[in-house]
């Protein structure tokens, strides 16, 4: 398991993921592909929280605040400009700015983890309440009617950049969404292998030590928070592109809870686990929605409690440990706390990308 072997394995995994994303529309039906598009958009959201929680050590209970802001920013500007190119940019910039302001208060106030969770949770609730109360003609931004509880219907979906008349087909939408998921996954993986990523993990591990080494934990955390907010906002744009609709429930607490459940189930401190957890849980939720016997809150709550109590590491790290135990290690390898994928993980990443 030399470094070169790992590089080759990772490159192969990425290649297979790209091939899978390209080929999927010709293999499966339209409905299943639409569902996969939704899962991929949600998985981008999962990555945004997986990044700050697993690697930055910042547990945000209100990741949907940025997701929702991104969705609304995209919808409002897409209706006004009738072109998705600047709208996608706005869907990234607006949540990033919001994260910058909120993060300044949180991190420069040296607010501890618990309080951070409480503040992010409350911000989400407040946004939900605010947007919910914007029904009526007086609440409009440009041509876009905010619509309160009913949300904004008929949002223009993605088009070919700078060609508003060429709207993407569902296949092309899938390629964009799946490609975005893979791209952000690789981007985060790259960031974490750079010195900047090491600093982020160092701050998570020990703030005092990191600051004694000359890094400013507040600044590092703020930048991490902003990046995560931007990714979540982008996920919001992808989500709105999928459904051509955005409503205040995008800010709902139950969605915030779901993101946290994806990561707890998939495995905190990995990037692959949250993607798998997201697809798995979303699939279960979709299945529960199609029948009457069980309530989705009940199942999600039970899943979360069981995982926290019995399998706190999550699926991917547990599976990795099991595999490492089965495959006799030829050399004692240092187990990194962060996710530097040994081949078994690289192999299962393809499953996540699909």
């Amino acid at each position: 398991m030399t470094i070169r072997f790992r590089l080759v394995a990772q490159a192969a995994a990425v290649l297979i993921a790209i091939v899978a994303i390209v080929l999927i529309p010709s293999v499966i039906e339209l409905f299943a592909m639409m569902q996969l598009t939704l899962f991929a958009a949600m998985a981008v959201l999962a990555l945004s929280l997986a990044f700050i929680w697993g690697f930055g050590g910042i547990l945000s209970f209100g990741q949907t605040a940025f997701f929702g802001l991104g969705g609304y920013a995209y919808a409002i500007s897409a209706i006004n400009f009738q072109d998705s190119t600047p709208s996608i940019l706005l869907a990234i910039i607006v949540p990033a700015l919001f994260a910058a302001i909120l993060g300044y208060f949180i991190f420069f106030g040296r607010i501890s983890d618990v309080y951070l969770g409480v503040i992010t949770l409350t911000v989400t609730l407040i946004l939900f309440n605010c947007v919910n109360s914007t029904s009526g003609d007086e609440y409009r931004i440009g041509k876009a009617l905010l619509g309160g509880f009913n949300g904004i219907p008929a949002v223009p979906t993605f088009n070919v950049p700078f060609h508003p008349d060429q709207v993407l087909s569902p296949e092309q939408s899938w390629w964009v969404t799946g490609g975005a998921l893979l791209g952000i996954f690789l981007l985060l993986r790259l960031l974490l292998s750079l010195p900047a990523g090491r600093v982020i993990v160092a701050v998570r591990e020990n703030e005092v030590r990191a600051s004694l080494l000359g890094y400013d934990p507040r600044k590092v955390k703020l930048l991490t928070f902003i990046l995560s907010g931007a990714i979540a906002g982008f996920a919001g744009a992808l989500y709105v592109n999928w459904g051509a609709f955005v409503g205040p429930t995008i800010f709902s607490l139950s969605l915030s809870a779901e993101i946290i459940i994806w990561i707890t189930v998939g495995g905190l401190g990995t990037l692959l686990g949250p993607i798998i957890g997201c697809v798995l849980i979303e699939y279960i939720v979709a299945y529960i929605g199609s029948q009457q016997a069980l309530n989705s809150n009940l199942v999600l709550g039970a899943v979360l409690v069981v995982f926290v109590l019995l399998l706190p590491k999550g699926l991917v790290p547990t599976a990795r440990d099991l595999l490492m135990r089965l495959v006799p290690a030829s050399k004692p390898k240092a187990q990194h706390a962060d996710d530097h994928a040994p081949p078994p993980v690289a192999a299962s990443r393809m499953a996540g990308a699909e």
């Binding site: 547990l59 208060f105 420069f108 106030g109 040296r110 607010i111 501890s112 983890d113 618990v114 309080y115 969770g117 409480v118 503040i119 949770l121 409350t122 911000v123 609730l125 407040i126 309440n129 605010c130 919910n132 109360s133 607490l253 139950s254 809870a257 946290i260 459940i261 707890t264 309530n295 989705s296 809150n297 009940l298 199942v299 999600l300 709550g301 039970a302 899943v303 979360l304 409690v305 926290v308 109590l309 706190p312």
Partner: protein
């Protein structure tokens, strides 16, 4: 003139209901450093216990003041034994597990009673000031807040249980050396906190719409208040509840209830930014 009286009554109502809502949470958080995200669902359970027993013919006062706290206290006891006791010292895990628990409770109640709004009539009737109407129940809530404050204060300060609880809160290892079983103290503290929360739910049942998801509206407010109040259970919660309750009601009076809540939230963020250890961390150090 009458309008000022009415606003003053509204403010009093906001403060006392916020205080009642937060007291149980403040006890659990202050004593055990467990963030109970199922707090809102404990309130909901208290409200449901009240409504269902009142509709089954139990006297409304008994339903509110006896059935609700007893039921939720028992639920709290069971939850502490089955779930919380594995999570002491694991702060983030306790937040996750109690969040899962809150979803679970919402799911169970929805399955049993359906996603419909329940209610009981408000007892005590109303009175008028000038051309405005108010209800005696508002005054009763304020009275209950004062009573609860007095009860908690005297139990904590003058009884053996209060002494042991405070000692365990300060230094569990030392308390254990002196023959106290911290596990049992935690268990009873959690049950007491749950019971007080259930009582709050019962008291608010007549003045709020009762649905399985109602807890979500309270949990964030309660947390802001407890966090803003800081470590001291009574003085911290009371001062933060006064501040936020007043801001909420006055803001709601001049704009809309939604912006009242936005104002509270902004006030809370600014407060935490200025006083990261809460009001009591700055002004009432060492008090209860």
């Amino acid at each position: 003139m009458a309008i000022y009286l009415i606003v003053a009554l509204d403010v009093l109502n906001g403060i006392s209901s916020l205080f009642l809502l937060c007291l149980g949470l403040a006890i659990i958080f202050g004593m055990m450093k467990i963030i109970n995200l199922a707090h809102g669902e404990f309130i909901m359970l208290g409200a449901y216990a009240t409504v269902i027993s009142a509709n089954a013919g139990v006297n409304i006062w008994i339903a509110m003041l006896v059935v609700a706290p007893l039921f939720v206290g028992l639920v709290g006891l069971v939850i502490e034994r089955c779930l919380i006791r594995f999570l002491y010292g694991r702060l983030v895990d306790s937040m996750l597990a109690t969040w899962g628990l809150s979803l679970l409770i919402i799911g169970i109640v929805t399955t049993i009673y359906g996603n419909t709004q329940q209610g009981v009539p408000t007892p005590l009737g109303g009175f008028s000031i000038g051309s405005y109407q108010s209800s005696y129940y508002t005054l009763f809530l304020a009275g209950m807040a004062v009573v609860m404050m007095a009860v908690v204060y005297s139990v904590m300060s003058y009884t053996r249980f209060g002494l042991i609880a405070r000692a365990t809160m300060q230094n569990p290892a030392m308390a254990a050396t002196l023959g106290v079983n911290p596990a049992r103290v935690y268990m009873s503290t959690f049950a007491v906190g749950a019971a007080i929360t259930g009582l709050a739910g019962g008291l608010l049942a007549p003045v709020s719409g009762i649905t399985p998801g109602m807890g979500g509206a309270y949990v964030a407010k309660a947390f802001m208040t407890v966090v803003g109040g800081g470590a001291a259970i009574l003085s911290g919660t009371m001062s933060a509840a006064s501040l936020f309750g007043a801001v909420n009601q006055v803001g709601a009076f001049f704009t809309t209830p939604v912006y009242g809540e936005v104002l509270v939230f902004t006030a809370a963020i600014v407060l935490i930014r200025l006083l990261p250890r809460g009001i009591s961390g700055r002004f009432f150090k060492g008090n209860l």
